[in-house]
Symmetry: C2
C-alpha cells in the first residue's frame, strides 16, 4: 500500500463511501418514556376516538338545549337537579325533559342531554337550578371523536418526537412506538503518548483530548458514543480495539496515527482486517489530509487526525451528517453565522482549508477572528466557536470579507 | 379558603414566589464522562503546562537550528542521524552539533535540539540526512506551556460544557469537575378519569396526556422528570403523591384538579400540608386561570391546568425559566419566530391570553394560523408549533399584524 492512496476531495470521498456503505437506520419499538427526541420510524394511527365519549368541556349542568331556550339574564329557566357526574365515572341515569345533572369538566354527558350550561350561568338552590343563558345543542360538549377520529394518522414517520408530540401519542394510548434508536459509535484514541484524562502524566505523555471531545461531538449528533479508550501502538492491539468497536457499534472512529509518519500503522492494520478495507486515504482538506475511511463487515471506520482541532473539524465535515442520517436526527438549524473576517486567510489552491475562528460581537455585528495558533493547540478549542471554509478554488479570503462561520454546535451561538 | 385567592398577573405571581422561594442550584462534582451539556459551577485552572514539554509539531528531524542555516533547495546541509524518537517516549540522548534525530509528531524534542526540520524538506540515506530548508530556532516545536500555562484559567463558572470545552478540560487532566446537576422534578397527573397511556380504557376514562407531555417539557429545560403517575381523587392520596414528590425531587408539578369545580380539592389539600402553603391561586392568564403555586418544605409546588395545551403553555410561561435557573441551563436561543397572523384574535382586557398557532411557510415568510379548537383538544398539540401572547392591555390582535410566536421548543423550527 502506498503511503497515501490518491488524495480525494471531500465530495469524492463521500461518493466512494456511498458506493461501499449505505447508512440505514433500523427501527426499534420503545416505550413512550424512552423516545423523547428520537425520530418516529412509522406513522401512528389512532385506534380510538378522542375523546372516547361525549364529555363536558366545562363545569356546569348537563341539560337538554331545548329546555333552556328563552332563558336570559332576567328570566332564568328552572330545571330539576337529578344527580351529579364526576369525571371518571359513567352516567347511568337518562336525563328527561325539565331535568339537569351537575357535571364536572371531562365527565361523560348523560344520555338524553345534548348540551352543558356553564356553572357561571346557573344558580342552584336545593333541587332547583336556574339557568340564566340559553345553550344551543352541542354547546360546551366535546363530542366523541371531535378531537381525533379512530383511524386518523396522528404522527408521521420521520417526525422528531418533541414533548408536545409525546402528548399526542399518549392521548391515543400509543404506549409503544417504532423509532430509530441512537446509533452506537465507538471512539478510539491512538498514540503512545496519550494518557486518559486524570491519570498519571509520566514524562513524554499528554492527556487524551480526542476521546472526550469526539464522544461529546457524537452525542451532539444524536448518536451514543462508546469510548473504548486509548489503543496501544501495536498492530495486534489496534486490531483488538477496532474489532471490539465493530462488534459493539454501528460506526468506528479512531483518531491519531493515520498520517504517513513512521509510527502511523493504523490505516495499514485496518486495511488488512476485511474487505473492501481502506477505500479512502488522504483528503484534499487542511487540516485533515491524513484522514482515512475503511469499510469492514459493512460498517464504516473513520480514521481522524490526532490533533484535537483537526479531529473535530474533520468530524464535522465528514462524519457528522452520516451519524444524523442513521440516528434519524434532523439537520441542525442556524448552525452558521455570517461574520466579517478580521484577517486575511491564505490557502493552497486545490485543497479546502478550514480555519478555526473566534466570534466577536461588535456593535451587533459578528466579527470572525482567525485563530492562528495551529490545530495542535488545545486552546484553539477553548476560544474557537466554529470555522471558516476556504474553498478548493480559492487561494485567499481577504480581511473584511463576509464569511459563513460553521459553528461547532452546542456553543453559545448554537 | 375562598374558591380562588386573588387572581394575580404572571409577574405578581413570580414576585410572590420569589418572596417565598429562592431557586438555588447546588453544585456537585462529576466525572468528565457525565458532564456534557451541564453548566460549570466553578472556574477550572490548569495544574499543568500544555504541552507539558517541548514537542515536535510535525514529523521530521530534531536539529540544532544553527546547523541548518544556509540550507536550500539545491544545497542541502548534511546531518548525522543518531536516533529515533517516537511520541510517548522520553529522549535520553543529547543532540550534538552536526547531529539529528528522527522524530514523530508529539514526541518530546531531545536536549541540545531547538528546532524540527520537517520530513518534507529532508532526505535520509542510511545514517546521513540531507536537510533542504533552513529552520529558525523554535520552528516546528510546540514549546512547553505554549498552549496552556500552569495556573491559567481554562474554563469559567457558568459556562455550558459543550463537547469542545470537554476537550479542553481533558487536556489539562481535569477528570472531575464541579457542575450544576439536573434538578429533579416530580410530575403528578390528577383526575379520576385518567388512565396511564396504553392501559385499559374503561367507560368514562381517557388517557393521561399531561404526564408524558410535561415530563418531556421538563427534560427540555435541562431538568430530570420523575413521573409519579396519576394521583387518585382523594385527599389522602394527593397528600401521599405530593409528599413523595417533595421527598425525591426539587420541584413538584401537579396537573389537573386545581380549578374551582366540585372535584377540585388539590389546592386545599396542598395548602394544608405546610407553611406557607398555597401563596398564589388564580392567574390573569387564559388559559391558566386555575393555576396555583405553593411552597412546602422550601420547595415549590406548581398546580397546572388539566387540559394539555393549557398545562404546556402555563409550564412555558411560569415554570420553565425556574427549571433552567436551577439546572444552570442557558436560556434557549431563537425560541421565537416573527410571523404574520392569519386571523383576528380576541382577548379580555386585564388578562394575558395565549393562543396556540400553527406556523405556515408562505414564500419564505412565516404565517401564524391561530388554532381555535380549544385547549381541551389534543390535536391542538399536534399542529401547534407555539403560541402568541395577547398582552393584558389588548383586546384584540388583528389579522395581518406581525406577532412573535413563542415556540414550544424542540419543534421543527427550534
Amino acid at each position: 500500500m502506498s503511503r497515501f492512496l490518491r488524495v480525494l476531495t471531500l465530495e469524492q470521498a463521500k461518493t466512494k463511501l456511498g458506493e461501499n456503505w449505505r447508512p440505514r437506520p433500523h427501527a426499534v419499538t420503545l416505550s413512550l418514556d424512552d423516545v423523547l427526541d428520537r425520530v418516529l420510524a412509522g406513522d401512528v394511527v389512532s385506534k380510538i376516538d378522542v375523546p372516547p365519549f361525549d364529555r363536558a368541556a366545562y363545569d356546569g349542568y348537563a341539560v337538554r338545549a331545548s329546555d333552556t331556550f328563552g332563558a336570559g339574564e332576567g328570566a332564568p329557566v328552572e330545571l330539576t337537579l337529578v344527580g351529579h357526574l364526576r369525571a371518571g365515572t359513567w352516567p347511568k341515569k337518562r336525563l328527561r325533559k325539565g331535568e339537569c345533572i351537575e357535571i364536572s369538566t371531562g365527565a361523560p354527558t348523560p344520555k338524553g342531554s345534548d348540551a352543558v350550561a356553564m356553572s357561571e350561568h346557573a344558580v342552584a338552590e336545593g333541587k332547583k337550578v336556574g339557568v340564566y343563558r340559553a345553550v344551543a345543542p352541542s354547546e360546551n360538549v366535546a363530542e366523541r371523536g371531535s378531537d381525533i377520529r379512530k383511524g386518523q394518522r396522528v404522527a408521521q414517520a420521520g417526525e422528531l418526537l418533541t414533548h408536545v408530540r409525546l402528548g399526542v401519542l399518549a392521548a391515543v394510548g400509543a404506549e409503544r412506538v417504532r423509532v430509530f434508536p441512537r446509533p452506537k459509535v465507538a471512539v478510539i484514541s491512538s498514540g503512545a503518548e496519550l494518557v486518559r484524562s486524570g491519570g498519571r502524566l509520566n514524562p513524554g505523555k499528554i492527556y487524551d483530548v480526542d476521546g472526550p471531545a469526539l464522544s461529546g461531538a457524537v452525542s451532539s449528533c444524536g448518536a451514543e458514543p462508546v469510548y473504548l479508550g486509548i489503543a496501544p501502538d501495536r498492530a495486534s492491539e489496534i486490531r483488538r480495539f477496532v474489532r471490539k468497536g465493530l462488534r459493539e457499534c454501528d460506526v468506528v472512529l479512531i483518531s491519531g496515527g493515520s498520517s504517513a509518519g513512521a509510527g502511523d500503522i493504523i490505516p495499514q492494520v485496518v486495511d488488512g482486517m476485511g474487505k473492501p478495507g481502506v477505500i479512502v486515504h488522504g483528503l484534499a482538506l487542511k487540516p485533515g489530509k491524513p484522514t482515512f475511511i475503511a469499510v469492514l463487515d459493512g460498517k464504516p471506520v473513520f480514521g481522524l487526525p490526532g490533533y484535537p482541532v483537526s479531529a473535530l473539524m474533520v468530524f464535522d465535515q465528514l462524519v457528522a451528517d452520516y451519524l444524523r442520517d442513521i440516528s434519524g436526527a434532523p439537520k441542525p438549524h442556524a448552525s452558521t453565522v455570517r461574520a466579517r473576517l478580521t484577517a486575511r486567510v491564505l490557502s493552497a489552491r486545490g485543497r479546502r482549508e478550514l480555519v478555526p475562528v473566534r466570534l466577536v460581537d461588535k456593535a451587533g455585528r459578528w466579527l470572525a477572528e482567525p485563530i492562528l495558533k495551529g490545530s495542535g493547540a488545545v486552546t484553539s478549542l477553548s476560544t474557537a466557536e466554529g470555522y471558516v471554509e476556504v474553498p478548493l478554488e480559492y487561494e485567499l479570503v481577504d480581511e473584511g470579507e463576509m464569511v459563513e462561520v460553521k459553528l461547532f454546535g452546542g456553543g453559545r451561538h448554537g
